[in-house]
């Protein structure tokens, strides 16, 4: 189908974008890469009166190195995440994650900020920034605030973004020398949304794992941290016995939605499978 009728505005600066949001309020929607929003409009599952296209706002692109963080502009496209040396050096989990995101033509256009602002529960980027303990920069006409990934995803397609705000950047803590990480997902077809996925980040100190964060996607209404498995892992070596306990804790803790094609018990099982796979890889 074709998208329903809408108006289009293409601001050249953030201030112009804020002005458009102020003028059109709930009728407006930010258009970044559009790889979800345009599809939803064509399917007539979304109807937007005014599209505010932020693709030409220069402040939103680029990746910058800061003292402790890598600042990733919200408009950075997946393909760029794969190619930038700064990402490979300081946030390699994101580079590894890109291969799971849709297909090349989508990755050439889709943006990291778009994925985070949409907050699809089965998408890779939200889980990765949760695993990495990143912060999101939310900007509005009256100022900018930084929100931890832990506090950003509130529910199904629901985030901490206010209607007058634009997600402008992501601050990812630089990878430490001890950092270990891994991501995997289970899909029916290459590039589909995950039935279940897991991103892990932590520190290997001697033979034990510290500061472990396990972020699941595709198993709840938002990306979630598996807190009891994380507590079990803290300070432990990745022995088969520990991995077994973690797996048990994962299947006990996950409470995925039930749908006819994918029963909750199946997703719970996949959660345990992914934990085992990734922890064995890290051991």
């Amino acid at each position: 189908m074709k998208a329903p009728d809408f108006a289009y505005i293409r601001p050249d600066s953030l201030d112009e974008a804020f002005a458009a949001l102020a003028q059109y309020g709930d009728d407006a929607r930010i258009l970044a890469g559009g790889q979800t929003l345009m599809a939803l409009q064509n399917l007539r599952m979304a109807s937007v009166d005014v599209l505010v296209d932020i693709n030409r706002i220069p402040d939103l692109s680029g990746i910058h190195e800061e003292t402790d963080h890598i600042k990733i502009g919200a408009l950075v496209r997946y393909t760029a995440l794969e190619k930038y040396a700064l990402i490979e050096r300081h946030a390699p989990l994101l580079k590894d994650a890109v291969q799971f995101v849709a297909q090349p033509a989508i990755r050439n256009r889709g943006t990291i900020g778009g994925s985070l602002a949409l907050g699809d529960p089965a998408a890779e980027m939200p889980a990765c920034i949760l695993a990495l303990g990143a912060e999101l920069e939310l900007s509005a006409a009256d100022g900018t605030r930084r929100v931890a990934a832990d506090d950003f995803f509130l529910g199904l397609y629901e985030t901490a973004l206010r209607p007058d705000e634009i997600l402008t950047a992501i601050y990812v803590p630089k990878a430490r020398a001890t950092q270990v990480y891994a991501i995997d997902e289970i899909v029916r077809r290459r590039g589909d949304f995950a039935l279940a996925g897991l991103a892990i980040s932590g520190d290997a100190v001697g033979s034990s794992l510290k500061s472990v964060r396990m972020a699941y996607f595709g198993v709840a209404d938002r990306p979630i941290l598996a807190t009891s498995p994380m507590a079990i892992l803290e300070g432990q070596s990745l022995t088969p016995a520990v991995i077994g306990k973690v797996r048990e804790a994962v299947t006990g803790e996950l409470d995925p939605p039930d749908d006819p094609a994918t029963p909750a018990a199946y997703r719970r099982h996949l959660g345990g499978v992914l934990a085992t796979r990734l922890l064995e890889k890290l051991s």
Binding site: K2, A7, Y8, Y24, L40, N42, Q103, N108, R189
Partner: protein
């Protein structure tokens, strides 16, 4: 374009030729190329980014023509299958697709060729799995893919 509008004046190049047009903002890029410019080699399949038939190049990168508005191509360089064909840059792939029977109805073929060319540009020696992975966003309902992968591998192995 800092005022909300329903119709926009745009200028961009398509297959090396300058194009200026007034377009309704809700017209997507592939519809504009097909209906306004009569470049009908790019096809419209699912219109939600899944089938890949609408693949075109925007500033040198393959993209979904159905998930981008024509107005967003303002100032960009677009290449369609017609341009890739005329320039000869996909000639080896075209020959290999023909020789391997890698098409039947042909609906997916222009996008398959552009996507395969994008792969070979980045990775001249892909494995069969890498070819399948890269083409996984392009649906073919005739061939069963085997012959398409064969054709792409032929070109990769010939190193042209």
């Amino acid at each position: 374009m800092t005022e909300a509008m329903k119709t926009a004046q745009i200028a961009f190049t398509v297959n090396g030729e300058a194009v200026e047009a007034s377009v309704p903002v809700r017209r997507n890029l592939v519809d504009f190329l097909r209906n306004d410019l009569e470049l009908t080699g790019s096809h419209v399949g699912c219109e939600h980014g899944v089938c890949g038939a609408c693949t075109v190049l925007v500033d040198g990168a393959i993209m979904r023509g159905c998930l981008m508005l024509a107005v967003q191509a303002d100032g960009c360089e677009i290449e369609t299958i017609e341009g890739a064909d005329e320039s000869g840059r996909i000639a080896a792939l075209q020959t290999a697709f023909h020789r391997r029977n890698a098409l039947q109805c042909g609906f997916c073929t222009p996008a398959m060729l552009l996507t395969a060319a994008a792969l070979l540009e980045q990775n001249g020696t892909p494995t069969r799995d890498e070819v399948r992975d890269y083409l996984s966003g392009n649906f073919c309902r005739c061939t069963g893919y085997q012959a398409i992968v064969d054709a792409v591998m032929d070109v990769a192995e010939a190193g042209v």
